[in-house]
């Protein structure tokens, strides 16, 4: 049966193929000379139009959320970015640069200008000002919402050029198409996801492309351009550390494999020195770039490069190889010794700061879990599950090794770079979920090489076969290829059919990839997470807009200088949408302050009251999903509050909240759990509520249990506001008793 369809297919193709060959013959025989220019033009036209379509596709595929909800900022961090951008456009750059924000981290405040990467805000403000200058009366929010898709489109162009640089223009086109719809990238760049990563991936890829270009050409101009690309990356995202470690590693690998060249010397030195000087202009980076442990590799490689150059020169001067060998040994030993000594002294004296916790947790995935609960508590810092690799990469996951094979087969400076980029970023993607994003461009490029090379081989197989039949030896791209083809001549029909089947398979896979990507984008990555959607009983869509309801309530009904205490997740949103002062927010720079809030949430009410009084807290905000079944609420995050609080204040002990290691909220829960502030605030008056038909009152739908403490009395707090679906509950802290 199978054989039959195959042979039939083969027959059909066999009839089609001569027609095609006839056409190409026409080209080659009749008017080859006169059409040559024309084909090139056609190719250019084709390439530009494909690229143009990819550019548009990358933009529009990210607009699901705008169509489905509205033009709004998503999630948590983007609200901070939006708020700062608003400030930048209203007050100007210098005010922004020197902004001391007294509305967050009360009472410590935060020097915003010195603790953020301003690239994103400046980019959006620049787009905004440009549009204003061109008399487009846009609102800054629209600009912010569409910044990420716009930069995703630009990334496709960079991916094209990068692909062209490391392989050929076909691979570039495929890479552009892949990256335009790859879910791993879309997850951080849908419309409304106004976060650093949206711009940073563009900058990252641009820097890499320009650097590879500089290495390939040895041109100062490209190296300079890559230094500026690096500067933009540093200004946009903390992930620049990846660049400043990957590039030295790459250089080191080239040195070790004996691929040292003047081109490399020029490219790296120019890029490092200028990039460093530029990066130090960003206040948040500053002297870290020459002092912190994460940047030391780049500096070491820089010095090593000079040693190499010096050795090269000595080798050129010395004719005696034996003498040179001795000299080499002494020089290398002393250079390494001096470097190690400098590093040791610098670290011991505190001049070189040690690696940060995040960096450690990248190299040792278990580090954060044991030592820094605040890093481990962030969901996007969790180790990646296999399913999310499949979800985010789909067929690219299988094409990636194939691409690596092609890269190794045709090893060059550029392919070594992309291989190293791919392998390191894949490792990091395995350590942290969010770093899938960094791996995505590499995976797309390498897979594109695989797809492009395979399809090219297959199509050329289809074509050259008939050509060899007709002309014996066409002008053929490579003589060796033609000769290898000739040896396969006897199995031609099988090969032809196989090639066609493989081609069809490839198209099937690629179309599957496209549908998968679109489906993922529309289903998983286009929800703003500030507005929740669920399916109702009749299949209709139910929208829970409780967050905004609560924040607008805060904005309208509380005094302007009111201080709101909540878990840090909601800090940015409260300041941006509620316009109220918060105690802690998503910029988790002060662990003690967060631990204080964690301690307050996990203490008994009267102890918590003392803490809240000392922080001048006026309102407490908790997120509660027991009514709607919304599972990422504060009760589910509560153990992290206990851990983080207990990390600083040992009076808080995690076992007090667990029963035999189980975390539960029902009747069997630990007594401390049933009476701590978070439990009380979440479940206050919940015992009276019937949430689900046929269940007792006080049935928590998020955890599927009946709660253990239904009779909750609040002494020092009073309920101020609960949203319509109970997702956000706000309590007012009472003043101290008047007569006591």
């Amino acid at each position: 049966m199978v054989g039959k369809t195959e042979s039939q297919n083969g027959a059909v193709k066999a009839t089609a193929a001569p027609a095609m060959n006839l056409e190409s013959d026409l080209f080659s025989n009749f008017s080859f000379k006169s059409f040559k220019l024309k084909t090139k033009q056609q190719e250019l036209l084709l390439r530009v139009s494909i690229l143009g379509l990819v550019y548009i596709l990358a933009f529009i595929t990210r607009l699901f959320s705008v169509l489905r909800y509205e033009s709004m900022i998503h999630e948590f961090d983007p609200y901070f970015n939006y708020r700062t951008t608003l400030f930048l456009t209203e007050k100007g750059f210098y005010e922004f640069w020197n902004w001391f924000d007294s509305e967050s981290w009360y009472p410590l405040g935060r020097i915003i200008g010195g603790t953020l990467y301003p690239g994103l805000m400046v980019t959006a403000a620049f787009i905004y000002w440009t549009l204003r200058f061109l008399r487009f009366a846009v609102h800054i929010r629209e600009v912010c919402v569409l910044t990420a898709p716009f930069f995703a489109s630009n990334t496709t162009v960079v991916a094209y050029f990068f692909g062209k640089e490391i392989w050929d223009s076909g691979a570039g086109l495929v890479a552009a198409a892949f990256i335009a719809i790859c879910p791993g990238y879309i997850s951080r760049s849908v419309a409304g996801s106004y976060d650093n990563e949206g711009v940073a991936i563009f900058a990252l890829l641009l820097t890499f492309y320009l650097f590879v270009k500089a290495v390939n050409t040895g041109s100062l101009a490209w190296a300079l351009a890559s230094a500026f690309g690096y500067f933009y990356m540093v200004s946009a995202w903390g992930g620049y550390v990846f660049i400043i470690n990957l590039i030295p590693l790459y250089v080191l690998v080239l040195l070790i494999t004996g691929r040292y060249s003047m081109r490399l010397y020029v490219a790296y030195n120019c890029m490092y020195v200028l990039g460093m000087l530029l990066a130090m202009q960003i206040r948040f980076v500053g002297f870290q770039h020459v002092q912190s442990g994460e940047h030391m590799a780049a500096m070491g490689v820089f010095f090593l490069m000079q040693v190499f150059y010096f050795l090269d020169w000595v080798k050129y001067m010395l004719s005696d190889t034996k003498l040179f060998q001795a000299f080499l040994r002494i020089t290398v030993t002393s250079a390494v010794a001096v470097g190690a000594l400098a590093l040791g002294v610098g670290t011991a004296s505190g001049y070189i700061s040690p690696w940060t916790g995040r960096f450690y947790s990248l190299l040792d995935p278990t580090y954060a879990k044991d030592n820094i609960p605040i890093i481990a508590s962030v969901s996007e810092h969790q180790p990646t599950a296999w399913s999310s690799f499949m979800f985010d990469f789909h067929i690219l996951l299988f094409l990636f090794p194939a691409g690596l094979y092609f890269c190794f087969k045709k090893l060059s400076d550029a392919t070594i770079f992309i291989v190293m980029y791919g392998l390191t970023s894949m490792y990091f993607a395995g350590v942290m979920v969010r770093l899938i994003l960094v791996a995505t461009p590499a995976v797309c490029l390498i897979s594109a090489i695989a797809v492009s090379a395979t399809i090219k081989n297959l199509t050329s197989l289809l074509r050259t076969k008939s050509k060899t039949a007709v002309a014996g030896s066409s002008k053929g791209t490579g003589g060796s290829k033609a000769s290898s083809k000739a040896s396969f001549d006897q199995s031609q029909p099988f090969q032809k059919n196989g090639a066609i089947a493989l081609l069809l398979g490839a198209f099937y896979l690629l179309s599957k990839y496209a549908t998968h990507c679109t489906w993922v984008t529309s289903e998983a990555y286009s929800s703003p997470s500030i507005v929740l959607a669920a399916r109702g009983a009749h299949g209709n869509r139910v929208i829970f807009d409780d967050y905004r309801e609560a924040y607008f309530w805060l904005r309208q009904n509380t005094p302007p200088d009111a201080k709101v205490m909540s878990w840090w997740d909601y800090g940015y949103q409260i300041t941006a949408m509620g316009n109220r002062t918060v105690i802690v927010d998503n910029n988790t720079w002060n662990n003690t302050h967060i631990a204080t809030v964690g301690r307050a949430m996990s203490s008994y009410e009267d102890e918590a009251y003392e803490i809240m009084r000392s922080l001048d807290v006026d309102y407490v905000l908790v997120v509660f999903g027991g009514v709607t079944g919304y599972s990422s609420d504060d009760i589910n995050k509560f153990l992290w509050m206990v851990r983080i609080g207990g990390g600083v204040f040992p009076v808080i002990k995690e076992p007090d909240y667990l029963v035999n290691g189980d975390y539960r909220v029902d009747k069997g829960a630990a007594p401390k759990m049933l009476n701590c502030l978070m439990y009380k605030l979440s479940y206050y008056r919940f015992g009276e509520l019937v949430t689900e038909y046929g269940k007792p009152p006080g049935y928590d739908r998020a955890r599927g249990v009946e709660i253990g403490n239904k009779d909750i009395k609040l002494e020092h707090l009073e309920e101020a506001f609960t949203t319509s679906n109970w997702i956000v509950r706000i309590y007012k802290v009472k003043p101290p008793n008047n007569r006591w």
Binding site: Y94, S102, T581, N738, R739
Partner: protein
């Protein structure tokens, strides 16, 4: 537009309403509701009431179980102070109950509670809300076999002559139930306490158990100044306000001095002046701060700024605001803990000021004045002000220590320039 006008007229018409009760301009109470068990008290305690009316109070006498009494109407309090001379009332008439009395106090009004032996549960409950517990034995009275007042009609030593208070001209006569202070309450104070030989028991019956309240733990008269400066007076003796006690002479047992007149009148007049805010009422106005040499209040300070903080404090003399003079008013520059604590200097005319340097720490600070002195209303002022670090262009531009580096940078530039020229054109 019409709506706006309506709001405006409403707002303007409400202003006088607000200013009637306990206005900062005139803190003294004006309208006093006196609840009595029996109108006979009006005449038997007329000296005390007379002293109040002569000081300008409008007293309104009502029976405690009058069904028409109420403390507020349409959300407005009708009285500035409440006097409960009804120790035996079991249930108030009208809308008054314990909760409404507590609300009355919590919204800044004053209260005098006089109980007696056989005080009702209701009165006990009011007292408990104010941090005072009367002896649980309803028939108990304070008995003192040593410091009793010599009299010809009292044989069981329940008439106590107490001089345990400041500046006693003559002992104060007290006859009634004793109370103790709730240790959890930090605001209640003993004004007149029993002597160490006193105890609380039923004088009619034999003492079978040791008395629960003894010695100077027994308070005879207590006051509370709530956090909102409402003042409460609680006493276990209604008769100490009576004309009989006011007029009677007093001779303490074991003492040969016989005072012509008891200290009750002076004591109760002065203490009701305090309770009704004729004394010891402070106000702070014109809280200002600015940089030294400027006069406008900035929205934010910079670290190491020199600033000046000033406040004016006045004391109510009963008729007018007089400058308050003291040398112990302190200001804190506070962020979780005081970074600066400085005593304000005064010009003797009520103006207090201090100059200090903002600490080298940025954050959201507060100017705090926490002035709590016995007998005075507590002043707690706090004003929030952020302190920012230096701007990028506020640092020193050229550091002397860095001259070698400037020198090396410029010499490098010059050297490079020369080198380029030599390299390019020396052939």
């Amino acid at each position: 537009m019409a709506k706006l006008l309506l709001y405006l007229t409403l707002a303007t018409s409400l202003i006088p309403l607000f200013s009637v009760a306990f206005s900062p301009e005139n803190p003294t109470d004006r309208r006093v509701l006196v609840l009595v068990d029996d109108f006979a008290i009006k005449s038997s305690h007329s000296l005390y009431f007379g002293s109040l009316t002569s000081r300008g109070f409008q007293l309104e006498f009502k029976l405690a179980d009058d069904p028409n009494i109420g403390l507020q109407r349409y959300g407005q309090y009708l009285y500035d102070a409440l006097v409960l001379f009804c120790p035996s009332v079991e249930r108030f008439g009208g809308s008054i109950d314990v909760a409404s009395i507590v609300d009355f106090v919590d919204s800044g009004h004053d209260l005098i509670v006089a109980a007696d032996s056989n005080a009702s549960d209701l009165i006990r409950e009011v007292a408990t809300e104010c941090g005072v517990d009367f002896d649980e034995d309803p028939a108990a009275m304070v008995i003192d076999h040593i410091n009793y007042a010599v009299s010809n009609f009292d044989g069981d030593h329940t008439l106590i002559a107490s001089d345990d208070f400041i500046k006693a001209d003559a002992p104060v006569l007290f006859q009634g139930i004793g109370h103790s202070l709730n240790p959890a309450n930090s605001l209640v104070l003993k004004v007149l306490s029993a002597s160490s030989s006193a105890y609380s028991a039923n004088p009619k019956s034999k003492l079978s158990n040791p008395p629960s309240l003894t010695g100077s733990a027994i308070s005879l008269v207590s006051v509370v100044q709530a956090r909102n400066n409402a003042r409460i007076l609680i006493t276990g003796s209604l008769s100490m306000f009576s004309n009989r006690f006011f007029r009677s002479g007093v001779q303490k047992a074991g003492s040969s001095i016989k005072h012509e007149k008891s200290g009750n009148e002076q004591f109760l007049t002065e203490i009701s002046k305090w309770v009704f805010h004729e004394r010891g009422h402070l106000k702070a106005v014109n809280v200002r701060h600015h940089k030294v040499g400027e006069s406008d209040e900035p929205a934010i300070y910079r670290i190491n700024d020199d600033l000046e903080y000033s406040v004016e404090i006045y004391e109510w003399s009963g008729t007018s605001w007089e400058p308050y003079v003291s040398d112990d008013v302190q200001v804190q520059f506070y962020m979780m803990s005081p970074y600066v604590l400085k005593t304000l200097s005064t010009d003797q005319k009520g103006h207090y000021s201090a100059e200090f340097k903002v600490p080298d720490v940025y954050g959201v600070f507060q100017f705090k004045v926490e002035y709590q002195r016995l007998g005075y209303t507590s002043l707690s002022l706090s004003k929030q002000i952020p302190v920012r670090p230096y701007r990028h262009n506020e640092y020193e531009r050229f550091l002397p220590a860095a001259y070698p580096y400037y020198g090396s940078a410029f010499s490098m530039m010059a050297g490079f320039f020369i080198f380029t020229i030599v390299h390019l054109y020396s052939k």
